[in-house]
Structures are given as C-alpha cells and as structure tokens.
C-alpha cells in the first residue's frame, strides 16, 4: 500500500473523529453551563484552551471577548481555525477526495454529504443541538460503512489507527472540560476549608454529580457507566471509567488497546507499539482518585504529549520512507 494513500486515510479518519468529538465537546459545555449557578465565572473560554487554540483565537485581538457566540462560531464554522468542525470535515473530504477508491463508495458519499450539510447550515443557538447531533450521527455512519463494507486490508487498519488515536486524545480533552470547571468552581465553595476526603468533597458539592453526568452523556457513556458502576455518579469513578475502562469504546485505555490490535497486522510496527505500551502503562498506574481532586489538567497534558509521540512513530514508520 502506498504511503500517501495510508496517510490520507489515516488523516481522513482522524478528522472525522475530530469533528464528531468537537461536537461532543460543545455539547458537554452547553449542558454544564445550563446546570451551573449563574454567578460562576466558568464560561466558554476553557474550550479554546482545551483545544489548544488559544494562540490562534487571540492572534488578531488579545482582548477578544470569549463569549458564547464567538467561541461557538470559532469551534463550528471558522475556516481559519483548523480544528473547527467545518475545517475538520473539509480536511476529511479533501484527504479522501484524492484516494476515493480506497474506501467504499457510500463512505465517500456520506463524508461528502456531511461536509455539504455543515457548510450550508450555520447553526443558530436554537438549532445548535440538532446540528451537533447530525454531525455526530454522520460520523457514526461513516464508521458503520467502513465496518460493514470495507475489506480488512491495511487501508482499514489505517482508518482505525487514525480514528482511535484521535478519539483517545479527544476523550481526555472532554474530561478536561470538567477539570477546567473545577478550577473555577462557585466562590462559596472555594473559600471554605478544603474537604478531608474525596467522598466528603462530593457530598459538599451539589453540582458534582450533575457535572460528571454531563461529561458521561456527551460521550454516550452514561448508560454504560451506570451498568458497570452501580454507585452514584462520582468524579473518581467517572474518571476511572473514561480513562481506564477496558470495555467502553471511548475510554482512553480501550482506544490504546485498539491501536495495538490494529498495528499488529501491519509491518514494521515495533516503534509505534512501544510508544503505545509505555503510555498505556502510565495511564494504568495513575492514581485517579487523587487526580480527580487536583492535578488532572497536568496529567491530561502529559497524556496528550504521549498521543503526539505515538503519532510521530506511526508517521515516521509508514508515511515517510
């Protein structure tokens, strides 16, 4: 298989996943905001940081107002922002356009149609949920078409390498939204004496459960979480579920294990496999209950560097020569 074709398919899959997960990210924040009391300082700006796009966002105007409308537009329909939903879909389409034959015809049609939908529908505030739902559903349909109609050749493996690496990364970013809100929790809470134990903290924060529920729901994880973790929704458990659960398909460990499986059928896989094994080990060793309380953002940064390393190994092995 040509390196260029492998690279295009890998990126096509990454961009589709990125569009989907950006939609999920916006959803979780919308829901959180509705649940939080009005006097919180927590708003839309954290999303810019979570996407690592602060430089671009403030490039033209350092005092740019990060209100809802501006941030949403930046994340959904700003073509100058390479991480926006429209840019991700455009890149997915462009990557596939030059290698259309590598995937089933229907998948190309689906991606093309999804791009055209996003291009022609700039969502209003009321229409936002429906727009994001269509993007998420459209990306899921692409998945389905690949699973159901694509031979398990190298091309297929590269599509799923791209998809799972992006998903692992974006799941941690979505979790990070919660850590951002943690930093800016309602004033009356932060001025009190720090709680002695994690469970005490949960008791004290009436919004705790609701917020974590939002995170779970945005990842379509709430139902699965409840089936596996029968206790009430608590921060440390949710973190454990989203980062370390081996059965839920959007958890970070699940994604890393999938990367290992996909790689095992490809030639020359040792460097990339080593990078994955190392990150997986660190993730499994992490003391999540403590992290839920403090240092989560730093830990997620650390994981993201690890994803970058895995990508570099894949690119160096397969996409250059």
């Amino acid at each position: 298989m040509l390196s260029r074709v492998a690279q295009n398919i890998y990126w096509m899959a990454r961009y589709i996943e990125r569009a989907e997960d950006t939609a999920r990210l916006i959803n979780v924040n919308s829901n959180l905001l509705l649940d939080l009391p009005r006097d919180t300082s927590f708003g839309w700006l954290p999303l810019i940081f979570i996407m690592g796009a602060e430089k671009l966002f403030f490039e033209k105007d350092p005092n740019r107002l990060a209100d809802e409308a501006t941030v949403i537009k930046f994340l959904i329909s700003d073509r100058e922002h390479s991480g926006s939903i429209i840019s991700s879909l455009a890149c997915a389409r462009e990557n596939l356009r030059t290698t259309r034959d590598a995937v089933p015809q229907e998948a190309w049609e689906q991606i093309n149609g999804l791009y055209i939908y996003a291009r022609d529908h700039v969502p209003t505030r009321r229409g936002r949920y429906e727009f994001l739902r269509r993007v998420i559903q459209g990306a899921q349909q692409v998945n389905g078409l690949l699973v159901g109609a694509m031979s398990r050749t190298a091309a297929y493996e590269f599509a799923w390498l791209g998809r799972y690496l992006e998903r692992a990364d974006m799941t941690t970013r979505i979790v990070d939204v919660r850590s951002a809100s943690l930093l800016a929790r309602p004033k009356q809470t932060s001025s009190q004496t720090p709680p002695a134990t994690v469970s005490e903290q949960a008791e004290q924060d009436p919004f705790e459960s609701i917020q974590w529920m939002s995170v779970l729901k945005s990842l379509s994880a709430y139902q699965m979480y409840r089936q596996q973790v029968r206790l009430r929704v608590r921060g440390p458990d949710v973190l454990k579920f989203l980062l370390q659960n081996e059965l839920f398909p959007r958890s970070t460990v699940f994604c890393l294990k999938q990367l290992e499986t996909r790689l095992s059928d490809l030639p020359r896989n040792s460097a990339a496999k080593a990078a994955i094994a190392s990150l997986k080990q660190q993730l499994c060793d992490a003391a999540l209950p403590e992290l839920a309380n403090e240092g989560l953002h730093g830990f997620i940064d650390h994981l993201q560097i690890g994803f970058g390393e895995i990508h570099d190994q894949i690119a160096a092995t397969y996409f250059s020569h």
Binding site: M1, L2, S3, R4, A6, R97, T98, R100, D101, Q105, A154, F158, L266, P267, R268, T317, Y318, S320, H321
Partner: protein, 483 residues
C-alpha cells in the same frame, strides 16, 4: 409523438444510422425499429435512467473555470452509433497499419533518421518540432514501440469516406468513457443486446494490462505496474483512477515515486520502498522529470529519465513519442506508411495544406473562410479556427498568426462531418460525430472494438470536445452476417 424516421433528415451529410431515403441502414435496423416503437414517455424514462446511472456511477470529467475546477457529470446521448462489422474490419486494419508505421518512424527519428536522409521527411520540420526530445536519442524501448497507447480521431465526410483527422500519441484520453458508455447502454436498453450481435468492448483493460506487463524490464517476475497521474485537478483524473482500479494496480503521483542510486524506480509504501517496473504515465513529457525537462515540475519524478534510459523501468507512452503527434507530421503520414511498410494507406488522411510551404500558405491565406486552421501542437480543440463559422476579425487574427509562425499551422478543407440521430428535447435530430478508437501496441497490436463516439450536442456545431459542449455515445460494432 413517437419517432418517425421519415421525418428525420440530415441534409448534406452522411448519417451513420439513416440513409438518403430516410431508411435505417442495415446494421441499424433493429435499433431504429425499436426506438420507433417507444412512446415519448418511454424515451424520456430511458434518458432519465441513463442520467441517473451516470450520476450514481460517478462518471465525471473536470472542467476548468474561473472559480477553480469542478467535476461535471459526463454528457451522454442514449442513442448508440452503429458501424457494421465488415466496415470496421477494414478500419481496424488501417489503424494497425498506421500505428505500426508511426512507431517505426519515431524509432527511426531517435536513431539513424533514415527517413530524413532519404529526403522523404524534411529536416527543417524535425528541427522545429516542439515534441522532439533530444534526451531520447539512442534510446531503445522494448519491442521498438514508443507509442503504446494511441487514440486516433476518425471522421466521415459526406460521401461516406472515413478519414483520420489526427493521431494522439502523447497521453490520449477517453477510453474509460467508452467502457462506461457501454455499461450505461446495457442498463438502459438490455433488450437490444438479446437479438443481435453487438461486439463486446469490455476486454480493453485486460489487454492494456497485458501490454503494459509485457514491457517489464524484469520479465519472469510478477511485474509491478503503476498508473502515474498528475493528480486530482487533471481533467482526466477520473480516467486515471478508473484504469488503475480496473487493472488492479496502484494509482501513483510523482511524489510517491523516487529513483534510487541504482537508477531503479521505487514507490513509497507502508512496507518501505518497492521497485516499479512499468509506468503508464498520464503526465506530459515536459513534466516527467525535473532533472531532464522542466526543472520547476512538481508532478514528475527526479531521475526518471535516467532510470528509463538505463532500461530499468518502462514508460508508456515512451517519452518523445509525441514527435509524431504533430499536425505537420500528420500531413506526411501517407509517405511514412509507404516508406516503412511499402504499403498504401488503408485509411485516408484529410488533405492538408502546410503553411510552411509557400504555395500552400498563399492558398490558405486566400481561402481562410473555407478552411479549418489548426496549430501544430494543441489538443482538445483549443486554438483552432473553423473558417466558415468565424468572424472576419478572427480570420484577420489567424492570418497574422500564420504569417508570424507558418511552421505551426496547417489547414484542411471543412469536412461535412457525418451525423448520427441524437435525442434532443425528446426529438430525434442529427448531430455531428467523430470516433476515437484506441490502439495498443506491444508485442502485438490491438484495436478497441469501435471506440469513443463524441457528439457535438449543439445544433450545427462541429466541436465534439467535452470541454467545449460535446457529449458522447455508445458505439456498436454490429455483425449483420450469419445472425
């Protein structure tokens, strides 16, 4: 209103399906009778079905516009063009003869140039040829073949004579549309294939693959054949991708290939570098290799010519084959056939005036309104003057162009191109057509069964190029004997 062939007329032209007495020709009898049995409604349904099939199959071509390039659905007319087999057999033999002579001619030009020394072909024409590549002198491609894939354009004048209008020896395109047109017709008129013998066209891609594989410098091994495309913005990208897919080979771009220190060509794969044996290149000579030709080319592969000259990779068509794809060289083809094969041409050339000859030039300048003037090295119908349809201002402009650069122009009488019934707004009307068969040359020569019929969809228009309002039809070679 259903079709009444009695009311169909193509005055002053030879019609491919209907004779001068408004009767269907023998080979077209079954088709015409069938079409006349359809109601308007039926006919419209067939047309819609064809359009839908083209859309669903994704048959497109790319048009350049100011707003960038766009994919357009391939314009297709559902009424096939029919040629009786006994007539096609003669044409096929004539095409084989022609391409064989042209290949001998090209090989000669890059070696001893006997034809020039024997004063058959003028040295000054060769000196001024923009498609002669000094980089190819002395090279000896396998089987002595340079133009492996040739697309020759045939037209028919009012008396029914078939002429070769031009030979495309560089990167001729259109064959994928020929194949897809047949698929569409089979979907739209399946019943017509049951009761008569319409010769199949589908084996082209197998023949193409076999021919390409025969060029491999490593015979015995399983040859690694690739199709080299300039990329998605090329107007024929659909075809490049289609042919690669049908042959089951990789579609590569210049950046996928590299030439190693051993002067072999490799492609970059996920397994590492993989040697390439045969490249069916759809990139023009000058963009093939920045080291040998245009240094600013980003489409090609650095060192490709080195690898080719060393005999480590085969290129189809060979670089430099375009030297015979020149409208001035065209005028000499009858002499070329005579010189190399000692035969008379089986298919005629259109009589041509060479503006480099003073006598011819004076005639051309005095008769611009009657003639078609063509630049020597353009394709796609660009840069042409169709005298009878042009304004005096255009005549004047071409007179100046010819005087400035006579070597670059030839002129031909305006032929009354034959017509074929075409469905226009649910009425059957005559439209002008040509025919592009494709000829494959390797150890043996193969001609497609029929070819791509292009049709000028605008009333009275003679321009059949898809980039300029042309469409196409399925082409049937029908065996009327013993059936």
């Amino acid at each position: 209103m259903t079709i009444n062939w009695q009311q169909y007329a193509a005055p002053g032209c030879y019609d491919e399906l209907i004779d001068d007495h408004s009767r269907p020709r023998l080979a077209a009898g079954a088709l015409c009778e069938y079409l006349a049995s359809l109601s308007d409604e039926d006919l419209r349904e067939r047309k819609t079905a064809a359009e839908l099939a083209i859309l669903v199959m994704g048959i497109t071509f790319t048009v350049y516009t100011e707003g960038g390039s766009i994919d357009r659905a391939w314009p297709f007319d559902i009424v096939p063009r029919i040629i009786p087999k006994h007539e096609w057999d003669r044409t096929e033999a004539g095409l084989k003869q022609r391409v064989q002579a042209l290949n001998l001619f090209i090989d000669d030009l890059y070696h001893e140039q006997k034809i020039v020394k024997d004063s058959i072909f003028p040295a000054e024409v060769l000196e001024q040829s923009v498609n002669f590549r000094p980089q190819c002198i002395g090279a000896s491609p396998r089987h002595g073949v340079w133009a492996h894939i040739c697309g020759s354009d045939l037209v028919r004048d009012k008396d029914g004579t078939i002429y070769v209008l031009e030979d495309n020896l560089r990167v001729p395109s259109g064959v994928s549309y020929m194949l897809e047109n047949r698929v569409v017709t089979k979907r739209v008129f399946p019943e017509l294939f049951e009761y008569q013998r319409i010769l199949p066209v589908d084996d082209y891609t197998l023949r193409l693959y076999d021919m390409l594989a025969s060029l491999s410098p490593r015979p015995g091994d399983h040859p690694n054949v690739v199709v080299l495309t300039p990329g998605i913005y090329n107007s024929a990208y659909f075809e490049h991708s289609y042919l690669a897919q049908q042959m089951g080979v990789e579609l590569v771009e210049g950046s996928d290939l590299e030439v190693g220190d051993d002067d072999c060509v490799y492609m970059r794969t996920i397994e590492g570098l993989e040697r390439v044996d045969v490249i069916y290149r759809r990139i023009d000579d000058l963009f093939l290799d920045p080291e040998a030709f245009r240094p600013d080319s980003t489409l090609g592969v650095k060192g490709l010519m080195r690898a080719w000259r060393a005999g480590n990779v085969a290129l189809a068509n060979a670089p430099g084959a375009g030297v015979a794809d020149d409208k001035v060289v065209y005028a000499f083809v009858p002499e070329i056939i005579k010189y190399y094969l000692d035969q008379d041409p089986l298919i005629a050339n259109v009589p041509s005036y060479l503006c480099m000859r003073e006598k011819d030039r004076n005639y051309v300048l005095a008769n611009l309104a009657k003639l078609v003037v063509k630049p020597a090295n353009e394709s796609g119908g660009y840069g042409m003057l169709v005298g009878p349809h042009a304004t005096p201002a255009e005549h004047k402009r071409f007179a100046e162009l010819i005087q400035k650069d006579p070597r670059n122009y030839i002129a031909q009488p305006t032929l009354s191109l034959s017509t074929s019934p075409t469905l226009c707004d649910n009425l059957m009307e005559p439209r002008h057509v040509d025919l592009r068969p494709f000829i494959l040359s390797g150890p043996t020569t193969y001609v497609t069964t029929g070819g791509l019929t292009r049709v000028a969809l605008k009333k009275g228009s003679l321009v059949v190029n898809s980039s300029q309002g042309g469409g196409s039809k399925d082409t049937w070679i029908v065996d009327t004997e013993g059936f």
